[in-house]
Symmetry: C2
Subunit: 188 residues, 2 copies
């Protein structure tokens, strides 16, 4: 099923993404054009306080022109370990520190045209938040929700960000039910 790259060209190299166009040869010998967004990868962190409240963030997302309710997330810095990135982003965006970090595998948000991989984590935090330190161009509001509220918001489609749904699914599958926990890092 492999597709062989015949030629490729970077059309744009920007701040958070790049755009590449490739001519490829399919397994059946035919040729096709592939438009590929390049992204350096990100992490997403489903965080929970000792009192059981989940720590989410609400922010305006310009591409979709709306406020979104999402798990904490951020782009990896060059060469940054995803676990280090997860702890950093949680602290910067919400003020909470990580007491226990559980890897939940990864997800590809749009594998048809983006190479971004998002590493997923579940984090148990301390009880209290310190000061926050978001990026200059970020404006975030911390939202605390209990488990029932999250399930309700998923059912009502008010939580509709894909990495948030992916992290929740993995949390329920791996942490809550304990199913296949030993295999979560085996599929890379």
């Amino acid at each position: 099923m492999h597709e062989k790259t015949i030629s490729s060209k970077m059309l744009y190299t920007g701040r958070i993404l790049g755009l590449e166009v490739q001519d490829v040869q399919l397994a059946n010998g035919k040729k096709a054009l592939r438009e590929i967004v390049r992204h350096r990868g990100a992490v997403a962190v489903l965080a929970r306080r000792p009192d059981g409240k989940f720590v989410l963030v609400r922010q305006f997302r310009k591409p979709v022109e709306r406020e979104m309710l999402e798990v904490v997330a951020g782009n990896r810095e060059a060469g940054e370990d995803p676990e280090v990135c997860a702890r950093r982003e949680l602290k910067e965006e919400t003020g909470y520190s990580v007491r226990r970090l559980v890897p939940l595998g990864f997800t590809f948000p749009s594998p048809g045209y983006v190479d971004e991989r998002i590493d997923l984590y579940y984090a148990e935090t301390g009880p209290d938040a310190g000061g926050i330190n978001p990026d200059e161009d970020e404006h975030l509001e911390v939202v605390l929700l209990d488990r029932n509220s999250i399930v309700e918001k998923i059912g009502r489609n008010e939580i509709n960000d894909s990495k948030t749904l992916a992290a929740w699914t993995q949390f329920v599958t791996i942490v809550e039910t304990g199913a296949a926990a030993q295999g979560t890092r085996g599929a890379s």
Copy 2:
């Protein structure tokens, strides 16, 4: 929390996506650059046969250089209704016809830098597949899985495509538990 567009420029307009760069003004008055991928939207369909087997597809995804196991999905044609698109894509990619189609809301795969919205559906199919008719540059393999196998593959991170995880979460939340079913189309 709104961000006001000061200026915008389309840098690329291609086959499945475009690239736009915007200067925006944040709520606090500061200015920022936004790199935005434009996409016309897609659908994803979690399909199940009368015998309980789910109908997924395996395909090579060039951006991530690997084979992915995903729900049926495809880009909407210009002006195409998402339900029409869902029925068309299921037929083209797997040969199965839809007997009952249940909307599961939508997801934004990468709202930080892409405007794509994916409308999610659960489809009950007929028992038998007819001929398939994939796009010229698509090479797909149909994979039939029972419910336990899907949960196992999610737990092992072998299913890691975000729209597939989103569709599964919504299926479990809305169809299987029936929770909040009447609200699934209310959040747009």
